[in-house]
């Protein structure tokens, strides 16, 4: 196989996999045939490696560990929503500063930023509830850690509203 093509195909694999196999796999590809079938096989295998990784993801990893639980949408979505709400406040404050208001511009009907913040904060409540109901019986301690993290993010988002009387 053409060395360039071999290198390109090897680069399709995840970084962790490449750290271990890139050198020998590239040499292996270079010394083999370069048919369309071989190329398709490598592309498919590289994609498969992203979905079910062999490196950096031990097969016996505890599915109830803090890191594993945090990967579920019901765990990370509330965090993302709280941070998003904080981002909304920050962008509103920056907008106000840029327009000489010295902070968030108060509007009589609360305004878009306030509505966005409310939607993000209220929208995460059912997800939080679902997460707690699903995971507390399975892995109480790890779930409590995640819940604490979610509560921390929510408090961080609510703090400016409370302290700045927004």
């Amino acid at each position: 196989m053409n060395p360039r093509l071999a290198r390109l195909l090897t680069r399709l694999y995840p970084r962790v996999w490449r750290e271990r196999y890139a050198e020998e796999f590239e040499a292996f590809l270079q010394s083999g045939p370069s048919g369309l079938q071989a190329v398709a096989n490598v592309v498919w295998s590289a994609l498969h490696e992203y979905v079910i990784p062999t490196r950096g993801n031990p097969m016996n990893q505890n599915p109830n560990s803090f890191r594993s639980i945090l990967k579920y949408p019901s765990a990370f979505l509330p965090l993302a929503m709280s941070l998003g709400a904080l981002g909304v406040l920050a962008s509103a404050a920056i907008y106000g500063l840029l327009h000489g208001a010295g902070g968030i511009i108060r509007q009589p009907d609360e305004g878009t930023a306030a509505h966005l913040w409310q939607i993000l904060m209220a929208g995460q409540l059912p997800i939080l509830l679902y997460f707690a109901v699903k995971w507390l019986p399975r892995a109480p301690r790890q779930t409590l850690y995640v819940l604490a993290l979610q509560a921390g993010a929510a408090l961080a988002s609510m703090a400016p509203v409370y302290f700045l009387n927004l």
Binding site: W17, R20, Y21, E24, F25, A27, F28, L29, S31, G32, Q37, A38, N41, V42, V43, W44, S45, A46, H48, E49, T54, R55, P58, M59
Partner: protein, 113 residues
């Protein structure tokens, strides 16, 4: 008129007999000594007529190495040979024994038809 759609032909037999469990094939290939990638592909081809693609082979190698069933030997020029571990031999023996029991039972059922 007789339909020829389901008539067995040597080509159909080959396709129907295609066996693909790459990790098991790699373990079986390494059972008679260490080999590098291309030697494994040729050996597996001779063993059961299945020719593994390069990505499939290295997918199997990575999984087997992760499980400690095969291990790399010092590289020879640019070729990387692998050998089966003691644990890998134990796993291969267990898998092949199960497969043998399954094959015997399946063939007995076919014979009784």
């Amino acid at each position: 008129m007789r339909s020829t759609r389901n008539v067995a032909s040597p080509e159909n037999d080959t396709a129907a007999g295609y066996f693909s469990d790459p990790p098991l094939l790699v373990l079986a290939s390494l059972a008679n000594g260490p080999k590098h990638g291309h030697a494994m592909i040729d050996d597996i081809d001779r063993l059961c007529g299945t020719r593994l693609g390069p990505g499939t082979l290295y997918g199997a190698i990575a999984r087997l190495e992760q499980q400690g069933w095969i291990e790399p030997l010092p590289a020879e020029e640019r070729r990387q040979p692998y050998r089966i571990t003691v644990e890998g031999l134990r796993v291969l023996r267990a898998k092949l024994t199960t497969l043998q029991q399954f094959t015997k039972a399946g063939l007995r059922r076919l014979a009784s038809l």
